[in-house]
Symmetry: C2
Subunit: 159 residues, 2 copies
């Protein structure tokens, strides 16, 4: 049995579960609430793999990048992989894991929001679908394929 609660409506008896250790939003935020973690994930999506790339492109200091990259590896968003370019010594490379890659909708929707609200010009870049060239945006859709607005959402507790 599931109990539902209307979003943005009056505050029904949901006090219990939104708070506390079980809220997965809260847990997610713990991992990503630092500026540097977010910026590093952004660069990972943009294709950065080497330490030096992360440092330069996320514009972080080396100690900050190092600490945060370790944390992201530890939490399984990135993984360390040795590799060797011809004529170079072996190095480590940071690659997105499936768990890390699955965060992309978060980054993409944040980018979309930033482009819309924090830029006069619509932002410096946008995502396009390689297949057809059309602009890509993040949206909420139910399993029956309906696009869903905030006002049409219920929150169902999975008891």
């Amino acid at each position: 049995m599931t109990k539902t609660l209307r979003m943005t409506g009056e505050l029904e008896p949901r006090d219990g579960w939104s708070a506390g250790a079980s809220c997965t939003i809260a847990k997610s935020v713990e991992l990503l609430s630092t500026r540097s973690a977010f910026l590093l994930m952004r660069e990972a999506f943009y294709g950065a793999t080497r330490f030096e790339e992360f440092v330069r492109r996320a514009e972080l200091s080396e100690p900050a990048a190092s600490a945060r990259l370790h944390e992201l590896v530890e939490h399984g968003l990135l993984e360390l992989e040795p590799y060797q370019e011809p004529g170079q010594r072996t190095r480590n490379r940071y690659r997105l894991t499936e768990k890390g890659a699955d965060l992309f909708p978060v980054i993409a929707s944040l980018m979309q929001w930033g482009n819309r609200w924090l830029s006069d010009t619509g932002g410096p870049a946008e995502l396009v679908h390689r297949g057809c060239g059309a602009v890509v945006h993040a949206e909420l859709r139910c399993e029956h394929g309906h696009a869903v607005e905030l006002a049409d959402l219920d929150l169902a507790a999975t008891t």
Copy 2:
């Protein structure tokens, strides 16, 4: 003319614009990179409007909530609105602005990610479409209606 760049591919000449002041992801992160800001926005979506509600349900201290709510108002994600319940004095209420409400996909996709990766049980709650009762999830879709995977994305600079 737009230049495109393959996501997660090799690092083409994108060094310039991802970094620096123009990146809207970076700007967005400045607003939301604190734990408390995220938690307060979550509660705003869940329907909190009063100061005391935000404090209790986001489990923040009053000073932290106060400081962050001011910041969110200042940045236009929430707005202060006086109201009066019968038999009560007038109070202020924090409401989502359009700008704030438009952040919902970010919160929703974070929740979805957390439910998938940080919980054994699939999380304590999920979003459902009021119309049909089906589970709602965040996804990337192009303007032609195609669901888009990370591997099928290009990043187009808006020059």
